[in-house]
């Protein structure tokens, strides 16, 4: 009988241990903010504003608002804009953007032909290099533009070589 008692109390102890264990285990899922404990990057972030309306014969302004680590990026190494039309009939090569202050950079160009356009921004600050590309529409889309969009790749490269 004595042996039984010891065996039982051992089992009870182990139940207690198991309960402790399970509560301990459920507590060890990954902490959402764990990344903050390790090396962090401060990527450049941006928004690109393309014009809403286009007037023939006038220049329109494309703007990029850059931020890094929550602050306006006004110490960039460079900010270059490149703009072209999907069918290749318009191409404004890589050009330094005007600095409007407060992390806002802009370029003004003619958009007299209707169709699908792309703007690519190349920017660098504090070791973070970005090269986002945005598509925007001037007036009506051509048949070739629609076909391009429907191919669904969403990818088109600038006509010229890589920038580095």
């Amino acid at each position: 009988m004595r042996k039984f008692m010891i065996g039982e109390s051992n089992a009870v102890k182990k139940y207690v241990f198991m309960i402790l264990l399970l509560s301990f285990l459920s507590a060890c899922s990954l902490n959402e903010n764990a990344a903050e404990l390790y090396k962090q990057e401060t990527p450049l972030k941006l928004e690109i504003q393309t014009p809403d309306t286009f007037t023939a014969g006038e220049q329109e302004t494309v703007k990029a608002t850059l931020t890094q680590d929550g602050k306006p990026a006004d110490h960039t190494d460079f900010v270059h804009f490149e703009i072209w039309k999907q069918d290749g009939t318009v191409h404004y090569g890589m050009e330094e953007a005007g600095n409007e202050g407060g992390g806002v950079y802009s370029i003004s160009k003619d958009f007299d032909k209707d169709g699908l356009y792309f703007v690519k921004v190349h920017a660098q600050q504090g070791g973070s290099l970005i090269m986002p590309q945005k598509q925007f529409i001037v007036g009506e889309l051509s048949k070739s533009d629609v076909e391009f969009l429907q191919k669904g790749t969403g990818k088109q490269e600038a006509g010229q070589g890589h920038h580095h």
Binding site: G7, K14, C28, L30, A34
Partner: protein, 457 residues
């Protein structure tokens, strides 16, 4: 009974330790009989998997080797070639190949099958495709990691590995030299003391020699087990001293671009079925920009690029080359190309570094051939110990029962049970099985005389 006497005669332990010795032996005996077959499987599959680089190098030579030429074509062109062959496939990964004479690889999912298409990066020509299902080394890995039985298999492997620690601890106690002159039966087998002694030495002596190696393989293997490993990795990551999140546990960052600013893709062929304003927006980077980011940031040439499959995803550049120090996991925004995280070996916490070294040593890649040979030796040792353990049992086993050492009560065994509980806490699956054993013991074995007799309980 006879077996007990024999050992008792040889060891002549002081009376107070007999019950402890028997209890330890009993646990070693049953744990061995139950888990040794799994350890055997792990050792055999592990011994083969160690040589994966050499084996795959021979098996897939035609897929791997290309003749270097002047210039490689771009990653996007190579992927286009694959898309021509598999128009409906989703491209998931691109691996450029670490040397000039190595093909590049494009991983795709085609009709629910994952294929690797090997491409000659100089010509864009396909060298053939391998279905992951057909790769023998993948099968061996699956066998080694989960007995080809999914999660259940993973838990069984983990259980066997954890119980192997119990076997090591109890085995060391049984092996530990008592008052006996010389190192015979301790460091080398005694050849002239009769068959029974030799059989015992054939198990205990090699077991001692491979103990350190075996414990090393278990402890380095456990971090990638499904239950213990995942919890361990999460805890380590949470302390800031493990792997950074997303290297092992946790997900990577998301794109810095808001979903509403991303361009939609129209699907219908006849008309634009999305508002024109939704067509305006950011479009994903070309993979070529990600390749140049990898080259710019000095990533180890064996890297792969994992391609995001949804709008908020990011490109993941990762390399887990033979040496732990060369590891890297980098996330690149799929729209801006910004490096969002750049985790290298140097950025791991000390636990992460230790685990990383453990993994490359376990896989035998860290030090190349010499590493593989040492690990192979340990595997062969484990196989010998398992086989000799079974042989020892079968030779000693009386016909009518298991031949287990008789249960010895709980006198003087408090320390041992505390140790078992500690193991059960450290390895919860061991804890759960100990509880299961005690429940079965209490409710079945002690109440069914025939069972009790058979198991010597």
């Amino acid at each position: 009974m006879e077996t007990v006497k024999e050992t008792a005669d040889i060891q002549k332990p002081p009376q107070t330790n007999t019950s402890l010795y028997r209890t330890v032996w009993r646990w070693h005996f049953y744990a061995g009989i139950i888990f040794a077959p799994f350890l055997f499987i792990l050792a055999v599959t592990g011994a083969i998997y160690l040589f994966k680089p050499q084996i795959e190098g021979v098996l897939y030579q035609d897929y791997y080797e290309v003749t270097p030429q002047d210039e490689k074509i771009s990653a996007s062109q190579q992927i286009e070639e694959v898309k021509k062959q598999y128009p409906d496939a989703a491209v998931t990964v691109y691996r450029p190949g670490e040397s000039a004479d190595r093909s590049s690889e494009v991983g795709i999912v085609n009709n629910d099958e994952s294929l690797t298409v090997f491409i000659n990066p100089y010509t864009g020509e396909s060298l053939g495709a391998l279905n992951s299902e057909d790769r023998i080394m993948d099968k061996i890995e699956e066998f080694h990691g989960e007995l080809m039985a999914g999660t259940l298999g993973d838990r069984i492997v983990e259980l066997a590995a954890c119980w192997a620690v119990v076997l090591i601890v109890t085995g060391l106690y049984l092996w530990f030299p008592k008052k006996r002159p010389g190192m015979g039966g301790v460091l080398f087998p005694r050849l002239n003391r009769g068959k029974k002694t030799f059989r015992r030495d054939l198990h205990a002596v090699p077991a001692f020699w491979v103990t350190a190696g075996m414990l090393f393989l278990i402890m380095t293997g456990l971090p990638w087990s499904g239950f213990w490993g995942t919890n361990f990795q999460s805890m380590a990551t949470n302390t800031g001293e493990g792997y950074p999140p997303s290297v092992w546990v946790g997900s990577g960052p998301q794109s810095t671009i808001q979903t509403k600013d991303i361009a939609d893709v129209p699907w219908a062929a006849e008309n634009l079925d999305v508002p024109v304003s939704d067509l305006q927006g950011f479009i994903p980077l070309s993979i070529d920009d990600v390749v140049s980011a990898a080259e710019r940031e000095g990533v180890h040439p064996s890297y792969s690029i994992y391609i995001p499959q949804d709008k908020t995803g990011v490109y993941t550049i990762s390399a887990f080359p033979p040496k732990a120090q060369d590891e890297i996991t980098m996330h690149v925004d799929q729209y801006t190309g910004a490096v969002l995280t750049d985790y290298r070996y140097d950025h791991y916490g000390w636990i992460g570094k230790l685990v990383a070294w453990g993994i490359t040593l376990h896989k035998g890649t860290q030090f190349g051939l010499i590493n593989q040979l040492i690990s192979l030796f340990i595997c062969l040792g484990i196989i010998l110990v398992v086989v000799s353990g079974y042989y020892l049992w079968l030779k000693r086993k009386p016909k009518k029962d298991m031949g287990a050492p008789k249960t010895a009560g709980f006198n003087n065994t408090k320390g041992f049970f505390l140790l078992l509980i500690a193991m059960g806490v450290l390895f919860p699956l061991v804890g759960l099985t100990i509880i299961a054993v005690l429940i079965i013991d209490f409710f079945l074995i002690r109440r069914i005389p025939a069972l009790k007799r058979f198991l010597n309980a």
